[in-house]
Amino acid sequence: MELNLNIPSWSDLRFWLPEAILCITFLVALLGDLVVRGRRTWVPFAVSVAGLITAGAYAVAAMNHGLDAGQFQGHTIMGSLMIVDGMAGFFRLLFIFASLVTVLFAWTSEEIMGKRRENKGEFYALTVLLTAAMMVMAEARDLLMLFLSMEAVGLISYVMAGYMRTSLRSSEASLKYVLFGAVSSAIMLYGMSLLYGMTGAMEFDGIRNALISGTVDPFALLVVVVLILAGMSYKIAAVPFHYWCPDVYEGAPTPVSAIFSVGPKAAGFALMIRFFYTTFAAGTDAGTQLVQDINWPLLVAVMSVATMTYGNLVALRQTNVKRMLAYSSIAHVGYLLMGFVLLSSAGLASILFYLLVYTLMNLGAFFYVVAINNHLKSEELSDYVGIGFRAPWAGAMMVIFLASLTGVPPFAGFVGKFYLFTAVLDKQWFWLAIVAALNSVVSLYYYFKVVRAMFLSTPAEGTDMSPLKLHWLQYVVLAMLAIPTLALGLFFEEFKGLADMAIGMMGG
């Protein structure tokens, strides 16, 4: 076998500017935190916000440039380790947006900043680094890079989950995360080594070519797929690899849970889409044939149904809002997996659109919990009684997020589900669509248990009903999420186009 040495050229790195900016921002924020002593935690905060905005601006510019040229099939970076294409561009914007609003909101969170704002700014630096690592996950097109980027996201996540050093819950969450992460990484690594042994290739298109041209034993391939899928399912918290998820989300500080529930999950989906689509589908019949041989659709459909049903049914019984949102995020992974069943471009585009919508509404719901936690020091449903009337505008926005998570029009969550259902029904997977539809009815009950506590239930005698004063920044960020949640439910043409384009312009 000819050894193909790709000498990386520095000029490639110009396509990697947003990631580079974020890495520098991380260092500056960390150093700034060390150098500027005292109570000036705004330094890392401001540096992070500025870095994220700059990186975002470059990412938008790169996206526009690619779109104007009519082609965004991608520029490979560092040989063939990574690729910046339409899909990577989509996820870049998604991650930067999610991190930016999280950083902004964390500024007002007592869990992060401490009661007297005595904590330092590590949180901001870590979030920035996490963003860069997640972006690499969406760009990896080589088994080595895939593993490295996943581990990078994992390591940063372990630290962030244990952010509240003095809290036992937070440390427990971190430890659980590490243990589960290590096991699943090992499983995935084993699958990857088998795949390398079968194909002799590391990069995804090389693997595809080897799989198509050589004769691959379907059973061996099934083992490989199951092992790799297991590792990735851990990342997105799909049943049966979800056990870490509720404990970690409940134990970690709420802003951290918020970014966990969307960021690494979306990155996991990006990775899955790129890996499985380029190795198995990507327009070649032979590749799709491989998928048929191992009955991929049924495998994923069963996983999807199990995940959404489990998440929804267990969420029904929760009395802690944060833990309930953790189970709800498992259920949403189930919906997302529906789009993955057929590896069709419509299905994958519907995943991207849903991820966008899900980011808005799920961050919104978590942030509301942060805002309330500042005042109540509790996430228990029973303490939420009457809270809606104490801060009506924030309460109304929470209702928008919850209704959207349920999938009720005219909110964006409905459009996301509609798009997923259409993709699935188009290929005549009726039972999957029916189960998913009934699942969203079930989810109504627990989402509206929160609404019920906030607005419907009569507070007990003597309950404090004075208006809550929320930080102005909290209103701004909640509105930044609530307005698109409503607007995307009514006018989704542009963003649907963006998702379609991202899949259409996925480089091999």
């Binding site: 029009p409 259409t422 669509a433 539809a437 009934l438 109504l444 419907l456 043409e493």
Partner: protein, 498 residues
């Protein structure tokens, strides 16, 4: 406003709600006045619609047609025909009355009226939408305001009633959603050849794909749509949300619930299921007649057993919606015209009954039938209004309920003889529960506890008198409403029954 009259009707209440959101919450009178104005404009437009509607054509009028979401071929497509026009008029009329009837609301006034106006917008939208996606969005938009209106301003068991209403309706509508997507994927636009949500294209069987022409597929789609609509009607055995929701809801919301929302179920069947799946409509018609009869009898018997006035009226709605289904199942001109007329008449009559129950509840804070007695002497004016409404409900000739029920029976008798005879028993049971309640509340020895109850006041009269006039007028001369709809409905029968 002439060009976009339907859009103005639909979205003017939303503008009103937005304005209300920015009025300080202690300015209660201002909020109520703005709400009344926001509900009055659609009423004025409704009068204009009534004057200018062309009664000689079965086609759609006042059409507004724009592209909304191009990649899915979703359109903003509004228009009305003889089937929707009575419903639009009813909605405009009852919504305005209900805003006036809600003047006594004192808890979170701002939220109440804002939500009420959004609800009104959703109702107009459902009756005007000609794009299936648009229809679905409006259909669901009503759920959230309704949930809060029952859940925040309702009675003691409001939390339970609100979520039950929401869960039942959502369960029905997700089935409708899946059926809608199936129709979308298998209907092609005759011009472009792409998928379409345009209902008019879905009505034309030639646009259906081969898959959509399969009998089993059509049966399943019919059932999915039917369950979605049946929960709203509500058809036995999907009716159990209704008594809870009605009893707990505040008076004005009960009026809207019974007066307009229930009609959406039967409207949906006539607007969507019948023309899209005409052969299945025929296949199902006998079952529909049976279900209608069950509704009539079961609803009437349940009403007789109630001791709570509001629950009695709620069950009477189940019974009266049974007549509508029976008329629809007949597939004859008299039957279907009677059914839609009954939808309109039930809207007005039941609104009067709920308003009357609200009057006594506001004063006595109880609705227990047995807690009263001899109230006729104490509140003579109220007695006459309530008995007027109740007589209309039992189908007294000269009042509007009689006309539509008679038409339904005339229409259905030649088709389903036995069923009609059994269903006609419902009239007798109906008379029984109505008269029995009247006797227990207003006649007999006076309960001294209620000596201080004042009679009906001017605002309450203002809400009841216009409805009363309408009920009387349509009882003597129903043509104004029948003229609106008969061309469209006779055409519908031609489509379905050939």
């Amino acid at each position: 406003m002439g060009e976009h009259i339907l859009s103005w009707m639909t979205f003017f209440p939303v503008i009103g709600a937005a304005v209300i959101a920015f009025i300080p919450s202690e300015r209660k009178e201002v909020i109520k006045t703005v709400a009344a104005a926001a509900a009055a404009v659609p009423l004025i437009l409704a009068v204009q619609l009534f004057m200018t509607f062309d009664r000689t054509t079965a086609g759609f009028q006042f059409i507004e047609h724009y592209t909304w979401i191009k990649s899915f071929n979703i359109e903003y497509f509004m228009g009305i025909d003889g089937l929707s026009v009575p419903m639009v008029l009813l909605t405009a009329f009852l919504s305005f009355i209900c805003v006036i009837a809600s003047w006594g609301i004192n808890k979170s006034v701002k939220g109440y009226f804002a939500l009420f106006l959004i609800l009104e917008a959703g109702m107009f939208g459902v009756f005007c939408a000609l794009d299936f996606f648009l229809f679905y969005v409006f259909w669901e938009v009503m759920l959230l305001p309704m949930y809060f209106l029952i859940g925040i301003w309702g009675g003691p068991r409001r939390e339970y009633a609100a979520i039950k209403f929401f869960l039942y309706t959502l369960a029905g509508s997700v089935l409708m959603l899946l059926a809608m997507i199936a129709f979308y994927l298998h209907t092609s636009d005759p011009v472009t050849g792409g998928h379409t949500f345009n209902m008019l294209h879905m009505f034309d069987q030639a646009n259906h794909s081969e898959w959509l022409q399969g009998t089993n597929v059509r049966h399943v789609l019919w059932l999915a749509l039917f369950i979605g609509f049946a929960i709203k009607v509500p058809v036995f055995p999907f009716h159990t949300w209704l008594p809870d929701a009605h009893v707990e809801a505040p008076t004005a919301v009960s009026v809207i619930l019974a007066g307009v929302l229930l009609k959406m179920g039967t409207y949906g069947i006539l607007r969507i299921s019948y023309p899209m799946l005409p052969d299945q409509a025929l296949w199902f018609s006998y079952t529909l007649a049976l279900l209608g009869t069950i509704n009539i009898l079961y609803g009437a018997y349940c009403a007789m057993a109630q001791t709570d006035m509001k629950k009695l009226v709620a069950y009477s709605s189940v019974s009266h919606m049974g007549y509508v289904m029976l008329g629809m199942a007949a597939m004859t001109s008299a039957g279907i015209n009677g059914a839609v007329l009954q939808m309109f008449n039930h809207g007005t009559i039941t609104a009067m009954m709920f308003l009357c129950v609200g009057v006594v509840y506001d004063r006595a804070h109880t609705r227990e039938i047995n807690a009263f007695g001899g109230l006729g002497m104490q509140m003579p004016l109220y007695f006459s209004f309530f008995s007027f409404a109740l007589f209309a409900a039992l189908g007294l000739p000269g009042l509007s309920g009689f006309v539509s029920e008679a038409m339904i029976f005339m229409g259905v008798f030649p088709v389903y003889r036995t069923i009609t005879i059994i269903a006609a028993l419902g009239i007798i049971i109906g008379a029984a529960y109505v008269l029995w309640m009247l006797q227990r509340v207003f006649l007999g020895p006076k309960n001294e506890k209620w000596d201080s109850l004042p009679d009906i006041n001017a605002r309450e009269m203002f809400t009841l008198v216009p409805i009363g006039i309408l009920v009387l007028l349509l009882g003597v001369y129903p043509m104004p409403v029948l003229d609106l709809m008969k061309v469209t409905l006779n055409n519908l029968i031609k489509v379905v029954a050939g």
